[in-house]
C-alpha cells in the first residue's frame, strides 16, 4: 500500500460519521496476503437502473486492486463469463484466500478506498461520459460516480477530481473522444486500449473496466466501420500511435460496427484483441501467481507420433469456441463427451491463475487447443504479411507452454458464417505450417470453411458444421446426416463448432441421435486418424 494514503485517511477521518452509522466497520486493510473482500453484483446494467452502482464498484475494484488482490466481484448467473462463483470457491479452497463479504457500496468504499485519490462524476444523460470517466479514473486513481452518488463519495472522504455533468451535452461521440484524447491520451499506457463496447443504448456491461483502469488505458468505443468515416479515422489514429503487439481489452460496440471490422482493423496494425467487455475480475486475478510447481498438462488422448487406423465411418469431433470461461464449461454435462475448448492463451501473460483453474478442474474428456489465429484473437489475412511469422511465433511459444498441440484460426475479414468466405490463401497456410512445425494439426473457421491441407502427417481442417444454438435438434441431426451423405468417402472427418450457448447435454442428445455410422472422438484422435487416411480435398482460398 502507498504510505501517503494512510496519512490522508487520518485527515479524512472526520467524515466517517457518514459511514459508521450504517453499521460498517472502520476501514481496515486486509492483514494477510490472502485476505480479500468479495461482493455480489446485481444483474441490472441499465443506466437508469443499477449501472451507476456497478460502475462505482468496478472502478473501486480497479483502484483497490492496484497493489494486490483486494476486491473480487461475484457476477450474476447470467453473466457471459459465468465462472466467478466457481473461481471464488477455487481461490478459497485451493489457493488459501479468505474472503470477507461486503454488503453495500458504502461499506465497499469504507473498506477499500485506500488507493483512491478522489472521484470522477459521469453524466447519466450522456452514456459516453462514463467511458471517458473510466479513462480519467484509471489515470487519477479515482472511482466513478453518478450525480446521485456524490454524497456517498464525499462521505467516504473522497474529493471530486473531474465533473462531466453537462460537459459533453450536445457533442457527438467523435467530439467527446477527441476531447478525451487531447486531455488524456498522452498520459495513458499506449500498450493497452480498452473498448467499452458490447451492448449499447441504455445499458453498459463494463466488467473489464477494472483492468483497463489498472493498466491506465484509454477507454473508447470508436467505430471501425469505414463508412463511419470520421470515427473510423480517429480509430485509425489511435491504433497507429500504439505499438505493434499492443493489447486491446474489451469488445467492440455492437451498435457501431461489426466484430469483423474491428478485428480486421486491429490485425492490420498487428494489435492483439482480448475480449470481451464482460471479462470479470482481471485486476484481481492478475496478481495471483501460479501455484508453486504448477505445470500445464493437457488431457491428451494420443501420443503425437501414434498411428491410428480409422474405420470406414464418420468421425465427428466437437469444439467449443469463444474462449475459456464463456459458455458450457460450467454447465451440466461437461466430461460426458469428448470436447475441445479454445484456450485464452493471453491469460498466460495477464492472469495465469485463470488457466491454472481451468486446467485443474478439467476432466479427461476436456481437450484444450490454442487459439485464435495468433497470440490472441487476430485475423491472419489483414495482418501485414511480413509480420505474420512473428505473430505466429509468439502464439507458438504460448501454445508450447500451455501444452497445446492443436491450433485454431479464424478470419472474418472477408466474410462470416452468413456470407463471403472465411478461407485462407496458401501463403497464409504456409506461414502456420512453418511457424508451428510440431502441432498435430490446425482447425480453421467459425462457420464452415473450405481450407484443407495435409503436410507431413499434420492435417489442416476446416469446420464442416456450425451448431447453432437456435437450430432445432432434429434439424441439426438432419444437417449432420446430410453432410455425411454429401461427403460419401469413408472415413469422413466432421469437425463441428459448438456455439458456447449450447450446453453439453444438448450436444450429447444430438450426437446420440446420429446413429451407428457416426463415432464421436476427441479432436487429437480425429487428427491422427486423418493423418493416416486423409479424405479431405486440398483447397485454399483463391482470389
Amino acid at each position: 500500500m502507498k504510505p501517503i494514503h494512510r496519512l490522508r485517511q487520518l485527515f479524512t477521518g472526520a467524515v466517517f460519521f457518514l459511514i459508521l452509522p450504517s453499521g460498517c466497520e472502520a476501514p481496515d486493510q486486509p492483514a494477510e496476503t490472502h485476505m480479500a473482500y468479495k461482493m455480489k453484483l446485481s444483474g441490472d446494467w441499465r443506466i437508469d437502473g443499477d449501472l451507476p452502482t456497478q460502475a462505482l464498484l468496478i472502478s473501486l475494484q480497479g483502484v483497490a486492486n492496484e497493489d494486490g488482490p483486494q476486491l473480487y466481484l461475484v457476477y450474476p448467473e447470467d453473466w457471459p463469463y459465468n465462472y466467478t462463483p466457481h473461481l471464488l470457491e477455487y481461490l478459497d479452497k485451493e489457493r488459501n484466500f479468505t474472503f470477507k463479504e461486503i454488503q453495500s457500496p458504502v461499506e465497499a468504499l469504507a473498506k477499500l478506498k485506500w488507493n483512491a485519490k478522489g472521484y470522477v462524476v459521469w453524466d447519466r444523460s450522456e452514456r459516453t461520459s462514463l467511458i471517458v470517466a473510466f479513462t480519467a479514473a484509471g489515470l487519477e486513481d479515482a472511482v466513478v460516480v453518478s450525480e446521485e452518488q456524490i454524497p456517498l463519495a464525499e462521505g467516504a472522504g473522497l474529493k471530486m477530481i473531474e465533473d462531466f455533468r453537462g460537459k459533453f451535452t450536445g457533442m457527438s461521440d467523435l467530439e467527446i473522444y477527441q476531447w478525451a484524447y487531447d486531455r488524456y491520451w498522452h498520459r495513458c499506457d499506449q500498450g493497452f486500449l480498452t473498448y467499452m463496447g458490447g451492448v449499447g443504448g441504455d445499458q453498459m456491461m463494463p466488467g473489464i473496466a477494472d483492468y483497463g483502469m489498472y493498466r491506465n488505458s484509454f477507454f473508447t468505443d470508436l467505430s471501425a466501420d469505414p463508412e463511419d468515416t470520421l470515427e473510423f479515422a480517429m480509430t485509425n489514429r489511435i491504433l497507429s500511435e500504439m505499438n505493434p503487439l499492443s493489447l486491446v481489452l474489451g469488445w467492440h460496440s455492437y451498435v457501431k460496427d461489426t466484430e469483423a471490422q474491428h478485428i480486421s482493423l486491429l490485425s492490420s496494425y498487428q494489435i492483439r484483441q482480448e475480449g470481451l467487455n464482460t471479462y470479470p475480475n482481471m485486476s484481481f486475478m492478475t496478481h495471483v501467481p501460479l501455484e508453486e510447481g504448477f505445470v500445464f498438462r493437457n488431457n491428451h488422448n494420443v501420443d503425437p507420433d501414434s498411428v491410428l487406423v480409422p474405420e470406414p465411418k464418420v468421425y465427428i469431433t466437437c469444439i467449443q469456441t469463444d474462449g475459456l470461461g464463456i459458455g458450457a464449461y460450467h454447465k451440466p454435462g461437461r466430461g460426458q463427451v469428448p470436447y475441445a475448448w479454445e484456450v485464452t492463451m493471453i491469460w498466460l501473460e495477464t492472469a495465469p491463475v485463470m488457466l491454472e483453474y481451468f486446467y485443474k478442474i478439467s476432466t479427461p474428456n476436456d481437450y484444450f487447443i490454442g487459439s485464435l489465429g495468433g497470440p490472441t484473437y487476430m485475423y491472419p489475412k489483414p495482418t501485414p504479411r511480413e509480420a505474420l511469422p512473428k505473430m505466429i511465433s509468439i502464439a507458438d511459444s504460448l501454445r508450447r507452454r500451455l501444452d497445446l498441440r492443436v491450433f485454431e484460426i479464424m478470419d472474418y475479414s472477408e466474410g462470416n458464417r452468413y456470407m463471403g468466405n472465411i478461407d485462407l490463401p496458401k501463403e497464409v497456410v504456409d506461414a502456420y505450417y512453418e511457424g508451428m512445425p510440431d502441432v498435430l494439426g490446425f482447425i480453421n473457421g467459425y462457420g464452415p470453411a473450405y481450407t484443407f491441407d495435409m503436410r507431413d502427417g499434420r492435417p489442416f481442417l476446416s469446420y464442416d458444421y456450425y451448431l447453432s444454438p437456435d437450430r432445432p435438434d432434429a434439424d441439426a441431426i438432419g444437417d449432420l446426416k446430410e453432410l455425411a451423405t454429401l461427403n460419401d468417402l469413408r472415413p469422413y472427418y466432421l469437425v463441428m463448432h459448438v456455439r458456447e450457448s449450447s450446453d453439453i447435454q444438448r450436444v450429447k442428445g444430438i450426437l446420440d441421435g446420429l446413429g451407428p455410422e457416426f463415432e464421436v472422438v476427441p479432436l487429437d484422435v480425429l487428427l491422427r486418424m486423418a493423418a493416416h487416411t486423409p479424405t479431405s480435398a486440398t483447397r485454399y482460398l483463391t482470389q
Partner: protein, 188 residues
Amino acid sequence: MKSKRPRLLEAALAGAVVLLLLAFHAVRISAQGEESALSGLWKLEGERSTDIDPWRECTYDIRQEESQLTLVKTLRASRYYQRDSISVIPDDQEREAPITPGKWMEQVHMGARVEAGSTRLVRARWEEGGKVLYLQSRETVQTSQGDAPVIIERRFHISEDGTTMALTEARSTRTAGSPLVYDFSRVE
C-alpha cells in the same frame, strides 16, 4: 340511435369484392403468356414453416415475363442477406442456368458451397391443372471431400384465394430432420 346496418352492409360488400378480386387473381394461372397466380412478393411465415436458422426472414419475389418465370429468393438475418435468382420456362425441358456462388443457401451452416461460375440444370412444369409449379434443380456443391451432386425438387402450391403459397422441398441428400415445408403469405 343511428342504425349500424348500412355500415355492416357496406363492409360485407367490400369484403365480397375483395374475395372476388382474389379469386379472379387466382384463376389467372398456368397457361403460357398469362400472368401466373404465383406472381408477386411472398414472405415466409416462420412459425408455420420449417426452421431456416440462421436466417430470420425469407422472401420469394416471383415475376413473369411472357412464358418465363423468375423466382428470386432472399434470406436475411440482421445486416446480412443472400439472394438467388432462377428463371424457368415451365415446359418440362431441362435447361442450364446460373447459380449464385458462395455458401450453399440451403443451409449455410453446413460445409457446402457453390463454386463461382457454377451452373445448374433446371426443369419446371405446371402440375395439378396449373395450381402447382414443380421445379427441379440438379446442382453440384463443394464439400470438404470434393464435389457432390444434389437434386432439389420444389413444389410451389398457391391457395385457392391466392393469398398464401406453400412450398415443399426435397433434397436427394437429406434423409433426416423435419420435412422441408414452408408457408408464405402474399405481400404484393
